[in-house]
Symmetry: D2
Amino acid sequence: MTLKVVVIGGGSSYTPELIEGFIQRYEQLPVSEIVLVDIEAGAKKVAIVEALSQRMIEKSGYPIRVSSSFNRRQALEGANFITTQIRVGGLKARELDERIPLKHGLIGQETNGAGGVFKALRTIPVLLAIARDIHDICPQAWMINFTNPAGIVTEALLHHSPHKKVIGVCNIPFNMKAGIAEMFSCPVENVEIEFIGMNHFVFGKRVFIHGEDRTKEALTKLTEENLDYSPANIVSLGWSKEFVTALQLLPNPYHLYYFQTEEVLKKDLDAFRKNGTRAELVKQVEESLFQTYQNPALSEKPKELTQRGGAYYSEAACSLMESLYTNKQDIQTVNTFNNGSIQDFPDDAVVEINAVITKDGPRPLAAGKLPQQVKGLIGHMKVFEQLVIQAALSGNYYKAYNALLMNPLVADEKKAKVILDEMLKAHKDYLPQFYCKGAGI
Amino acid sequence: MTLKVVVIGGGSSYTPELIEGFIQRYEQLPVSEIVLVDIEAGAKKVAIVEALSQRMIEKSGYPIRVSSSFNRRQALEGANFITTQIRVGGLKARELDERIPLKHGLIGQETNGAGGVFKALRTIPVLLAIARDIHDICPQAWMINFTNPAGIVTEALLHHSPHKKVIGVCNIPFNMKAGIAEMFSCPVENVEIEFIGMNHFVFGKRVFIHGEDRTKEALTKLTEENLDYSPANIVSLGWSKEFVTALQLLPNPYHLYYFQTEEVLKKDLDAFRKNGTRAELVKQVEESLFQTYQNPALSEKPKELTQRGGAYYSEAACSLMESLYTNKQDIQTVNTFNNGSIQDFPDDAVVEINAVITKDGPRPLAAGKLPQQVKGLIGHMKVFEQLVIQAALSGNYYKAYNALLMNPLVADEKKAKVILDEMLKAHKDYLPQFYCKGAGI
Amino acid sequence: MTLKVVVIGGGSSYTPELIEGFIQRYEQLPVSEIVLVDIEAGAKKVAIVEALSQRMIEKSGYPIRVSSSFNRRQALEGANFITTQIRVGGLKARELDERIPLKHGLIGQETNGAGGVFKALRTIPVLLAIARDIHDICPQAWMINFTNPAGIVTEALLHHSPHKKVIGVCNIPFNMKAGIAEMFSCPVENVEIEFIGMNHFVFGKRVFIHGEDRTKEALTKLTEENLDYSPANIVSLGWSKEFVTALQLLPNPYHLYYFQTEEVLKKDLDAFRKNGTRAELVKQVEESLFQTYQNPALSEKPKELTQRGGAYYSEAACSLMESLYTNKQDIQTVNTFNNGSIQDFPDDAVVEINAVITKDGPRPLAAGKLPQQVKGLIGHMKVFEQLVIQAALSGNYYKAYNALLMNPLVADEKKAKVILDEMLKAHKDYLPQFYCKGAGI
Amino acid sequence: MTLKVVVIGGGSSYTPELIEGFIQRYEQLPVSEIVLVDIEAGAKKVAIVEALSQRMIEKSGYPIRVSSSFNRRQALEGANFITTQIRVGGLKARELDERIPLKHGLIGQETNGAGGVFKALRTIPVLLAIARDIHDICPQAWMINFTNPAGIVTEALLHHSPHKKVIGVCNIPFNMKAGIAEMFSCPVENVEIEFIGMNHFVFGKRVFIHGEDRTKEALTKLTEENLDYSPANIVSLGWSKEFVTALQLLPNPYHLYYFQTEEVLKKDLDAFRKNGTRAELVKQVEESLFQTYQNPALSEKPKELTQRGGAYYSEAACSLMESLYTNKQDIQTVNTFNNGSIQDFPDDAVVEINAVITKDGPRPLAAGKLPQQVKGLIGHMKVFEQLVIQAALSGNYYKAYNALLMNPLVADEKKAKVILDEMLKAHKDYLPQFYCKGAGI
């Protein structure tokens, strides 16, 4: 048996990493066909990526066919795996997600705060449409989503699409494991972190090195030796001894938005005044990357890509596909139904959790109760996520207001309205559910 | 049978209102002995209050004996009801609770934010000692606590003292009912508000006028007709249409600290620069009140008292004592064990809730689930309260840090430390559990 | 304002008690119109009841109109309260419910065991149709259901009909309170029993006499003084000291089916061999009652009725209607949504519980956790009830089998099938959902 | 590193199987020392087993030392693993557990019904004492318990001993997997059954063959092809099509006591009249086995042992020790803290569940909700288990009565007393907590 993979958002600059992953695992995961699907506006980018991919595969010698398509439904025929990595509204929309909150003195970030809310509002309806197509055309296929905000989006898909074979992945858990491996000078395979929480709001509860609980040491190293594990795209400010000692948990890099809000905001505002938004910076990086990709002599993933924030994304996705295909039963960290793994959440909440990956999908490991130290805040964020989903589906103004009001980075009854009104207007083209009667669910 | 009431913190300027309450209800609640207990530092004030109380009772003609005492254990002998209204560290401590956070750009308020945390840290051990005395000397007596933060303090008492006959009361629910009565031009007896939440973080879920659900009208009036119900001591800024429409709940006046933080902070800072802290203002009001109390011609509660923030406090306390004594089975809003009334909280969480008041204590009415709109934030605040209690009992530095970190008005890993260190030092005399080995629990 | 009451199953021999109730409470509950609705097969009985009712009202002097109707939808127009007391299949069906299980060596009883299951399967669809009519024609009206098995039936209505103003009542709690009043030689008004559980499976958790907890005394009297409180239609065998001491709860009379199964079965089999089923006995009693009712000189509820099992049924129903109408806020025991009152059950489970009765409906009092002593069994019975409802709605053979299998009085994989097959056949005319494609839900 | 294993109850006839297991896995699990601990009354048996074990090891050529000891605390020094397979009161006590209930017309069985209750009452205090010794002497060691009733006993240990490194194992899940492997003609390694429930009351929720869900086929084969998977010691009566179709679950062999009670009782009574109790039968088998063991030419596990009920016990125990030692992270079925794996049970309930076995212990896989079909009964049994534990610890007569009353195989308020009194007397020597003041906990 050979496998067909459809990459939705195939024109992404991350795609070559994915191609590399398929090549490296060909013996275990015999992918014979890859279709890069994108929208017509991305025609130029997808053509460049397709050509590079073909050169990479040719070099590998494996019998893998790569093609591209603007016809999603056609591409889905016979697919075994679908990866989704899309950006509704492109980098232009991201720029607005960053710029508008900053203008009002709030964190402007694409997956947190008001920006994250709006990314979700734009993305959820599009991914739901994709999931419905998958369910219709290739109902046995697994949909592997990396699109951010990955946790919210996966919960929306698992609750509201008929397709239930959906798993969300993020590179943060992988980054944290790699960081811990470096801390303990051991291979990453020997590291297990017991994760608890939701995507971008996950904590490491315990650290095991070759099966032994080394949590206390990891916490000490984090503060005393100042060893960090943030990915390239998040500038870490480090964590204080008090913070780590009080929580007795490994924070994830995104927590700085919530616990160092004022400092981050100040830094972001400075950077913004100097260089504009991060979206604008990324745009330049992307342009340079696509320049590199066009080099006909290039037949491997260029180093520049590795140095970007998305490191380990395709590693996470390919590992997952391999284990699903081979019933490998190894432990990976995924976004899936809670199903009891975190006692404080209902069964059908989507959480980021360690799971045994079987042919039948992920089986979460029981992680017990949320630690009292962060339980209140995690519960609060989970409800916030649900409010975002309700807003995204209904296109209801007050639900969107409620979501913004309950986000700890907004949390102000007046600002919630000002920002909501401005962002609804700015993103109008990508939020039909708020503008066209009957577009909401 | 006649009843003995012990008023702990009897030198409080609020005591005359309580005395008035006992006089007005003498036929139903035959109190024959009142002992005002205070500390020796408060000798002068308690003497003034005692004298005024005696004049008030003399005028009433009822056979009630009033005395004062510095010996708490002696005073408790034979008591049926004990009210507790104390201020550990006096107004001086309150001033620090307000001044230090403001200095660091945070809300400085005696029951919210860092100030509220420290008020709890000082108060909980003292009230626990009182409760242990009660349990020892008059175990059948009810302890009625108004000391703030009333919700946190009542939870600490019900969890950690052997005395379980403890009920917390607050005047906010009564104020809200009175406000709604005015809104609907009806007697307050005809108003029922279904409350859900915790003290100072309670919401009105439904409003009934003579048994009929008039919630929608009340919400409309609140925003469109701008009819408010804040007590005298909280300057209301009003609620926006968006806020009330999105929540579909009656906010309580203290919510402005959480949803209008920036505006309130600005206002408080302005006021602080002009007039110093609210504590200093209250000090002046108190002095003037005690001047008035000393007038030997005064034999009733003076009007000036009614105009202060504590309106309805003694109404709440006396109503409660009457129903406990007569098995009246009317509905009152109290702080007591959840016992299932709010589905999202464990049985032994202390909540502010409507309850039928029987001789056997309050029987909470089932209030169902927390509304999704505020569920996350209320859950977050509940965990915060528990972190405060753990800090107060243990005297553990990191638990206190954790509590501050998780308070939405602090929520910053650096500021939490700065404020904690400064306040621990400023309040050193009243926080033995943090300084003396073995003083914690 | 005057009120219209529709009595569905108006030809029941219990109706005169209801009429008496309306007469006695006319000043508080001004009922001006009563319509007795029945099916045409019951024409003769309803005519007799109607005539007696008219004589009773005439004697009272109150301006109440009584009529009868076979047209349910017409009768419902303008109704304020609807009571439902029906018997689908009549006493003939009850006879089968009793006879068939007995034949196979199992308890044959109309509300417990296999008989109870089948009574529910026949009754639920009919009551759902009535509730839909009510919702359509008089959506503001309260439906007060006494039809057995009252708990199961009320849960089916509250979950599956659009009409949510439904309350189930049973005379057992009232009987138990009356029994306790006798035990303590006090008026029943002074007795409060804290009930916990479901209809016919409810326990008394605590007993209060004039607000004081007298549970221990009540338990002692129950065993040592052999004071009982069973209603007339349940022959009590008494409870052993061990049973009551171990449980520390007041059992209800129906518990004997579960805890004295063998003895009850033996007694029932003896009685059956001598006199046939209880249904046949009741038939004779009914015939004699209707003879009495036809006496044109009779203008009050005859004594013979009082002596039957249904004592206090109309008391329960009329009290409930009065409190709903006047917003009385007294405590009554009803079958309603759990809404958190019993911590172990979900919000939407229907339980038998003390509630404050307001114009807006019952507000359950929080009753805490199920006592460990009986928690397992009560939880088991609750799931059994839900299996019965699923079977009744779906007409699915295996769901009905599952319900029988899980009933502790059946609990046998072979007997469940034998009895199911035989009873499905015997009751075929009244179980269209099991026979006609598309009749189930 | 080499390992020391202490076998408590080392004189058991099952020990040679364990020895064989250690020999077969020596490369992965380098056991260098085995101490067989027993009581002096078992001196003769333990000597025979020790000698056979030494011959087996000698033949294997591995450097394993075997010795025996009556001094438990001494033997525990330096232990890495302790297995516990004891029988308090010996086969004589088992005989009483079987004989007394049968005499009163109830199932007499050593792990179910009244017999199971008494086995637990005798066993729990002894195992608690062993666990306390382990915690004291070799706190890093794992205690692997096979003593029945294994679920109840493991819950008692995990809740009430300071030693938390305790895992309960049973051969039933392994037997069921082996049966399914035979059904599907595949190696047992390819079979996964998703188990849910408690020991001896566990159900198979889903069956996977090489990762694919084949549950429906397994259920069909079970009824239509009459393929069974009962172990040798439980005579299966087969399951009806109705039973399996209604439940949609794989029953475990012990369920026949609860769903075929009458038939089993009849069969057991017949067998009892003919051959006495099963205990007496086992006694003969044991005597014959020990005859065989004494043959100095025997240096391997004799075939007769394989044919007994305990098949796979040592397989289960050795697999577990290997994975704990090597951090293998494979999936095994164990009795451990629920920790959220079954949503309906609290975190600290002990359940029988699939878990990933790591060096740090078992990590249960989330199994979701109990299926509605059996949820009530499983919940009921779980509470029953807790009542048994409370009785075993307290030595309280009424708690023991409560446990018997709530066991579905007793469930009679009169019989519970009769049997309790008789069995308390019969087992007096092994139930000091019921007889000596202060012996209970």
